[in-house]
């Protein structure tokens, strides 16, 4: 049976509804048994009296009919209760996971593939819903229901009871036994199958590239060949893993049919009376009903268990930047802080590419309030890591980051987040209108405020040109904005947020030259009176900084005013040379 103790805990808080579902289901089994008893009695009276006696048969016949209806109603109630339970469990679990993710923060998504997380919270939770709502109650019923029926059977005829009882126990018990034998093969089969599905996905997503390379034929042929190879390799496994069905099908039929024939033989030798034989004949099938239904829910059980792994991984994840025990506040002021990095060393935890190597090594920097620091360096040199740490997605392993002398670790997390506004290389737009996306930064802003922010972010014309202006739905299933347009939305958000620290992470990388020039003006206004950290490659952005820091392989290698650095030979002058097209 696909039950693990921890999975049961997911049903906690819904144990009442789970129990109610199981109880309704048990009552339905009891009604089914009663139905069989009444039917047996009807036939007994008819056969023993020799000729049908309407009065004698009428009673049990009516009872049988009533029990048929009652059983159906109970099953209907069970279905509805199961559905309710399932919904309840899902709502709780999904919110719990969402809450957990919000607590873990972006640090968690930096180190883990976001796709997996999405699958866990979207599909995984649905699988758990079915597991707790449908599979678990059925497990209870498949344990209790047959027990009642077999007890009645044994009371009538121990031999028939023993046969049915053995078969009922062996049907579910035989599955894990077979699975253990077939498990490795079957798992290999599924792993290969999923690998192949991933390759097809890969091919379809890369179709534009395949077409451009004129390789659709070649690649398609390769996929077809692999599909064939996979098919050949797994058919043997499939034949073996399907053998699970042999035993359960055999036991099922043996339990319902052979036990009846055995009872008939025992009647002929006088060991069982007519009433007993009739009862055995109609009741044995009832013992298997719950077990059969459990098999119908096997998928729910299997997928639920599989989904549990992802769910528990999220619930058990270490917070990369836990909330402080005794949070300190920097005060309500909106004045720009003095930011200091002192000997900061940091390596990404977990499966981040480049694990084990520190992304930052002993970086020390001071950013005076209201000034702009530009950070540049090769990709992988640690720029983005610096930004991640300044927003406290992670805590450094050694060294400290201070805002006005207070360690970020001790500051209230909401305050850290409220302190900074970020314009990133890629900005996420939520499913909703443009106005919704802007109001995220300032919920009470009226349309005039939004328009003004959009105008300053050089995005107003674009928004006005959308089919419904500020009410146009954007995001995953809405209108798409280009990378440059999204960046400008982010600038508008930053304007609306009005935070004392501004982080510009390649903020104008995706806009064209003309827009960039205009946007730089806007960002220039935005920087006034704020402490700004700017990550950039383009000289046109870097020259606006008070201070330039050049990172290389996690170390701070150059550091000074742009004009001062220009004179020296080093990374900075390389950059100038590359971008101005001059070789030195």
């Amino acid at each position: 049976m696909l039950v693990r103790r921890r999975m049961l805990k997911l049903a906690r808080g819904a144990s009442g509804p789970v129990a109610a579902t199981a109880l309704l289901s048990l009552c339905a089994t009891a009604a089914g048994a009663g139905q069989a008893v009444a039917l047996a009695e009807t036939i007994r009276r008819a056969l023993i009296s020799g000729a049908p006696d309407p009065a004698g048969v009428g009673g049990p016949l009516a009872v049988t009919g009533l029990l048929v209806v009652l059983r159906c109603l109970l099953l209907w109630g069970r279905d509805q209760a199961a559905n309710r339970t399932a919904s309840l469990v899902r709502a709780r679990l999904r919110l719990r996971l969402a809450d957990r993710l919000l607590d873990l923060g972006p640090g968690h998504t930096v180190t883990r593939p976001a796709g997996t997380l999405r699958t866990t919270i979207a599909d995984g939770v649905e699988a758990i819903r079915a597991y707790v709502g449908f599979y678990l109650p059925q497990v209870v019923v498949s344990l209790g229901g047959p027990l009642i029926v077999v007890a009645v059977l044994t009371w009538q005829d121990p031999v028939a009871g023993a046969i049915t009882g053995a078969c009922v126990v062996l049907v579910p018990a035989s599955r894990p036994f077979w699975r253990r034998i077939m498990g490795a093969r079957s798992q290999r089969h599924w792993a290969a199958y999923e690998d192949f599905a991933a390759r097809v996905l890969d091919a379809l997503q890369g179709m534009t590239t395949l077409k451009a390379l004129g390789a659709t034929g070649v690649y398609g042929h390769r996929l077809r060949r692999d599909a064939l190879a996979l098919y050949r390799a797994t058919m043997g496994d499939l034949a073996a893993s399907s053998a699970v069905y042999v035993i359960s099908a055999f036991l099922l039929t043996a339990g319902t049919a052979l036990s009846v024939v055995v009872a008939a033989i025992r009647h002929s030798t006088g060991q069982l009376d007519a009433a007993g034989l009739l009862l055995v004949a109609w009741l044995t099938a009832e013992a298997f009903r719950p077990v059969l239904e459990l098999q119908n829910y096997w998928h729910e059980g299997f997928h639920g268990l599989a989904a549990g792994k992802g769910v528990f991984a999220l619930l058990d994840a270490d917070a990369p930047a836990p909330a402080p025990v005794a949070p300190v506040t920097r005060g309500p002021s909106n004045r720009p802080p003095r930011l200091v990095l002192r000997e900061v060393t940091f390596a990404y935890p977990g499966a981040h590419p480049g694990t084990g190597r520190p992304a930052l090594r002993g970086v020390t920097l001071e950013i005076e309030p209201g000034t702009t620091l530009a950070v540049t360096g090769r990709s992988g040199s640690g720029k983005s890591t610096l930004v991640n740490l300044l927003q406290r997605y992670f805590d450094p392993q050694s060294g400290r980051i201070l805002a006005d002398g207070v360690d970020l670790r001790d500051l209230d997390r909401d305050e850290v987040r409220a302190m900074t506004a970020v314009v990133a290389q890629d900005t996420y737009l939520f499913h909703g209108t443009v106005a919704d996306n802007l109001r995220l930064a300032r919920p009470d802003a009226d349309l005039a405020t939004l328009r003004e922010a959009a105008r300053r972010a050089r995005i107003l014309d674009v928004v006005d040109g959308l089919p419904d202006g500020f009410d146009t739905v954007v995001g995953e299933r809405g209108a798409r904005l280009s990378g440059g347009e999204r960046q400008r939305i982010a600038v508008a958000r930053a304007l609306l947020k009005d935070a004392p620290v501004l982080i510009l992470d390649e903020a104008t990388s995706a806009v064209d030259g003309e827009t960039e020039a205009a946007l730089r003006e806007a960002l220039g206004e935005l920087r006034a009176g704020r402490t700004t950290i700017m990550i950039a490659h383009r000289l046109s952005s870097l020259i606006d900084a008070d201070l330039v820091a050049v990172l290389d392989d996690g170390r701070l290698v150059e550091h000074g005013a742009p004009a001062d650095l220009a004179g020296r030979s080093g990374s900075w002058s390389d950059l100038v040379a590359a971008q101005s097209g001059v070789t030195r």
């Binding site: 509805q80 199961a82 996905l201 052979l258 002929s268 101005s580």
Partner: protein
């Protein structure tokens, strides 16, 4: 997997069944064994009841033992048939799924990328594959149970006739029909509920996507509580869709239960009335119950029918999606002695009719030169490249390569002429070598080494653990954007086609990467006619010609310096970068230079 999907024109069941027509043998075998499985199971139960009846009529042990062995034999037969059925039916679904994937591949090959632009929203590919997988249950179970029920259920009625007489058969039949008819009558509602449920699930997935992918923004703006509220609301909508679905499904359960009970009682009463002997009476009542097995199994799997047919509809939609361009050309490729000229002649194009993107563009890229397209976002640079790659065809005017209108060429021949280096180079989750060899199957080690050296792939190859045999990860995640683009350039070098379309990455690169990329680009443009969508100053400077696109028209064509001097839109575009470079380089500003 390039075979075009055959006309799968049907919708729903008809369409799904038509797919089966290519797999009749495994389908027939699955149905055969399903019939044996169900019939043997049913017979065993009926035989056992008959044995009980005989015992009640006073039969001796000697008469009952043969019935025991028969029952045992039927039981074994059933178990064996069950095994074979489940094996072959899984094989069937495996093959059908492979087939549908093959068709999807063909469909995507036909409509990508132009047709995909039209179908915005969601991750189309992921959804298409998920949809095709949800058809598995149809091919592994539903289709087989339908066919088996068609055989076994009437046989059960006939058997009832021979055991209990015509009256018993007549008593059974209406209940069987009712058990099948009610769910079928509810099917329309089921389809609607399935669609509702899918919609609610999709809406929920959007919220989850917002949660996971928008986590930075949510936390930065304190949007957590709001997002949780939205999740809660999406959950409520989903729960209410499920409630409706569950109420209907429950009704089907009730109908099934009542029908089975009703059938048993009707047959019993008819039998008692007709004075059937005990063996026949018991056997017919047992058969009345067992006759519903095929229908119950069928209804169990069709409960998710709404979801299946919804998925099937979407898959078929995609298979029938027309290509973005009509592949009607039959002209031979032009015979080239050197790189051909590329000509845009009065080209007009818009993605929708109300908003033209290109309004009469005439432009020639002289043979063997590099022309850089400059222009603000939305000016039409990428669209022009799309037309040269025939992702779309112009609404008016023509695109010619070496004097041949592209529409006159078979679509499959275009890659022989034109090679594309996209802005976001897509790398397959495979080794670097496999990714490169796609461009030239059977490339020698020398070819690869040269291409890697020229495209500046070699410098970062050393960093990779297994060199060319390093697996690059999903979408090439193990490489940086600049590195991926250099791999794309190496591919173009291996392709070695006379015309090159280069969509320069708009994201910023660090100094060293930028220089390496430029070196690679210089190398790949050599001896080819190249159209570059330019974002970087260095590219504009290196190009033979620069064409300035402004609101769908060519504003000017000329060299970089010339344009700086005379073309105002161009100056606005590059001023900022040019200024900064000049300032820090301690040289005079380029426009001062030009003005002087």
């Amino acid at each position: 997997m390039t075979s075009a999907s055959p006309a799968v024109k049907g919708r729903g069941v008809a369409g799904l069944l038509r797919v089966l027509s290519g797999h009749l043998r495994p389908f027939g075998l699955s149905v055969l064994f399903a019939v044996v499985n169900q019939a043997a199971g049913m017979s065993a139960v009926v035989l056992a009841a008959a044995a009980a009846g005989r015992a009640l009529s006073g039969a001796g042990t000697a008469e009952l033992w043969p019935m025991f062995w028969w029952t045992l034999g039927l039981t074994a037969l059933r178990a064996a048939a069950n095994w074979v059925e489940s094996w072959i039916s899984h094989e069937l679904s495996f093959r059908v799924l492979a087939q549908i994937r093959q068709w999807l591949y063909g469909a995507f090959a036909r409509i990508a990328p132009g047709g995909l632009v039209r179908r915005r929203g969601g991750d189309l590919v992921v959804r298409a594959l998920r949809d095709s997988e949800s058809l598995e249950i149809f091919y592994a179970h539903t289709s087989i149970y339908i066919a088996a029920a068609l055989v076994v259920t009437p046989s059960a009625v006939v058997a009832m006739g021979s055991i209990g007489g015509l009256r018993a058969a007549v008593a059974l039949a209406p209940w069987l029909i009712a058990a099948l008819a009610l769910p079928l009558a509810l099917r329309r509602a089921g389809t609607r509920h399935g669609a509702d449920l899918n919609r609610a699930l999709t809406a929920m997935n959007v919220e989850v996507t917002d949660l996971v992918h928008g986590l930075r923004e949510t936390l930065s703006f304190g949007g957590g509580p709001d997002l949780l509220a939205r999740l809660r609301a999406a959950d409520r909508r989903l729960a209410s869709a499920e409630r409706r679905q569950s109420l209907r499904a429950g009704l089907e359960t009730v109908a099934g239960g009542i029908a089975i009970g009703g059938a048993s009682l009707s047959v019993l009463v008819t039998g008692l009335d007709g004075g059937l002997p005990a063996p026949a009476l018991l056997a017919s009542v047992a058969l009345a119950g067992a006759a519903f097995t095929p229908i119950t199994m069928l209804l169990n799997v069709t409960r998710v029918w709404g979801i299946t047919s919804d998925s099937a509809d979407r898959v078929f939609d995609l298979l029938e999606e027309p290509a973005a361009v009509a592949d009607t050309g039959a002209a031979a490729l032009p015979v080239l002695t050197g790189p051909p000229a590329v000509e845009f002649d009065q080209v007009v194009f818009g993605y929708d009719e109300t908003r033209p993107v290109l309004r009469g563009v005439s432009l020639t890229v002289p043979a063997g030169t590099t022309l850089a397209l400059a222009g603000a976002t939305g000016a039409g640079k990428s669209t022009l490249a799309h037309l040269l790659l025939r992702h779309f065809d112009p609404a008016a005017g023509a695109v010619r390569v070496g004097g041949v209108d592209l529409r006159d060429l078979p679509l499959d021949d275009l890659p022989e002429l034109v090679c594309h280096v996209p802005q976001e180079a897509f790398l397959f989750h495979d080794t670097l070598r496999a990714n490169l060899e796609l461009a030239r199957p059977g490339a020698s080690a020398d070819d690869l080494a040269h291409a890697c050296a020229d495209a500046r792939v070699t410098p970062f190859l050393e960093r990779l653990s297994d060199g060319l045999d390093t697996v690059v990860g999903e979408r090439g995640a193990a490489l940086s954007g600049g590195e991926r683009q250099r791999v794309a350039i190496a591919r173009a070098l291996l392709r070695d086609r006379p015309v090159l379309v280069l969509d320069e990455s708009s994201s910023q690169l660090d100094a060293l990467s930028e220089r390496e990329l430029q070196a690679a680009l210089d190398r790949v443009g050599n001896g080819r006619t190249t159209l570059v969508i330019a974002h970087r100053l260095t590219t504009l400077r290196h190009a033979d010609l620069v064409a300035v696109l402004d609101h769908g028209r060519i504003a000017d064509v000329g060299g970089h310096a010339e344009l700086l001097a005379r073309c105002e839109p161009y100056r606005r575009l590059v001023q900022a970068q040019a200024d900064a470079a000049a300032l820090l380089d301690g040289r005079p500003r380029p426009d001062d230079d030009a003005r002087r």
